[in-house]
Amino acid sequence: MNWEVIGSYLPLYWKAMLLTLRIGWIGIAFAILIGILVAIVRFYKVPVASQIAGVYIEIFRNTPLLVQLFFLYFALPRIGIPMKADFCGALGLALLGGSYMAETFRSGLESVAKIQTESALSLGMNKSQMVLHIIFPQAFSRSVPSFVANIIFLLKETSVFSAISLMDLMFTAKDLIGLYYKTSECLVLLVVFYALILIPVSVLGDRLERRVRHAEFGD
């Protein structure tokens, strides 16, 4: 292990991590947004939109992100839809994540017992009050564990961005190994930087889960 080499590589890895975080953050934010919208459409069985959402979920849940990115980045320009690599990465992550988040939120919504809505209505709440104050908080607290798992999954999936020539951590590591053959140093840094991204998320996720379990309602 050569510490000088590690020191000289640090700035490169740091830059790569920032890119991973930037695209990951945007992708996940949109994934949550898509997930909520699609889950609501699915849960309330909005005609037509619900079927489209169903097809979307099945397609994106049953294909790998790598293949989706290849399709978005290399195939779509051929029919006249060119995209920049970082936009493509964020879009791919958002679409993949959206389909996972949608399923998570939908099963959260489904887990709220019928008696809850009936009680809310009989207390004289109107529909929007009921949805906002009774259903959503409970649905969200039920879906937290798989929500956290999804976020970790999506952050891990960002490692395939290198395939569409985004200079992320994977790309940097592979590039440096190819250039200087300092394999061990490069891989150690790779592990350290991914741990730097994911351990805080994992710890925060655990805390959130514990906090929400503490706040669970009734049963």
Binding site: N62, I152, M170, S202
Partner: protein, 226 residues
Amino acid sequence: MQNLGIDVLFKGTNMMRLLGGLWVSLRISLIAVLFSILLGVPLGILMSRKSRIIRAITRLYLEIVRIMPQMVLLFIVFFGTTRVFGWNLDAEVASVIVFSFWGCAEMSDLVRGALISIPKHQYESAKALGMNSLTVFVFIILPQTIRRLLPLSINLVTRMIKTTSLVMMIGVVEVLKVGQQIIEANRTSSPNAAFGVYGTVLLLYFIGCWPISMLSKYLEKKWNNV
């Protein structure tokens, strides 16, 4: 009409080559699933015991797998270990090792979860009926565990198939790589081949994984109601 480059697939043996590439990914995932079950089930049973040492070690193992992207593990095994230990590892063997390592962790966690989810009174009632530990396990615990476990482990198979698309990044010639080769070879005669080929690869993965996910969903629904 614009040429979508689908014609490339019907040239020569291109479609067969693509399917051959798909078989490579499937083979890796099936072997890895096999190892994951063989190693993951005993490990899961071990983890459901209340030993602190076992718990600490397995917790560390699961955390590593949970946090590290599979691609990083692939790089470590394929580029790292070969460098450090000086052995020569085939890319496909390296992928099987990594995916077994990953799958075993997932599988053992599923087994542990399923075993723990069985209420204590099931053990106690069986004991009260005069069954010994072995018969309790075989006739009472095992059937219930399998019901909870099967849908989830079928789901693991689809995740395994999807994740094996990564092996292309360490140089295994699987479906995506074959697609790339076909596109390169037909660059001049069919410049739009990328659309047809990558679209087909996407479709192939979907055809492979969708029925399995459906089966998992169906079993989950069916057995949850009982």
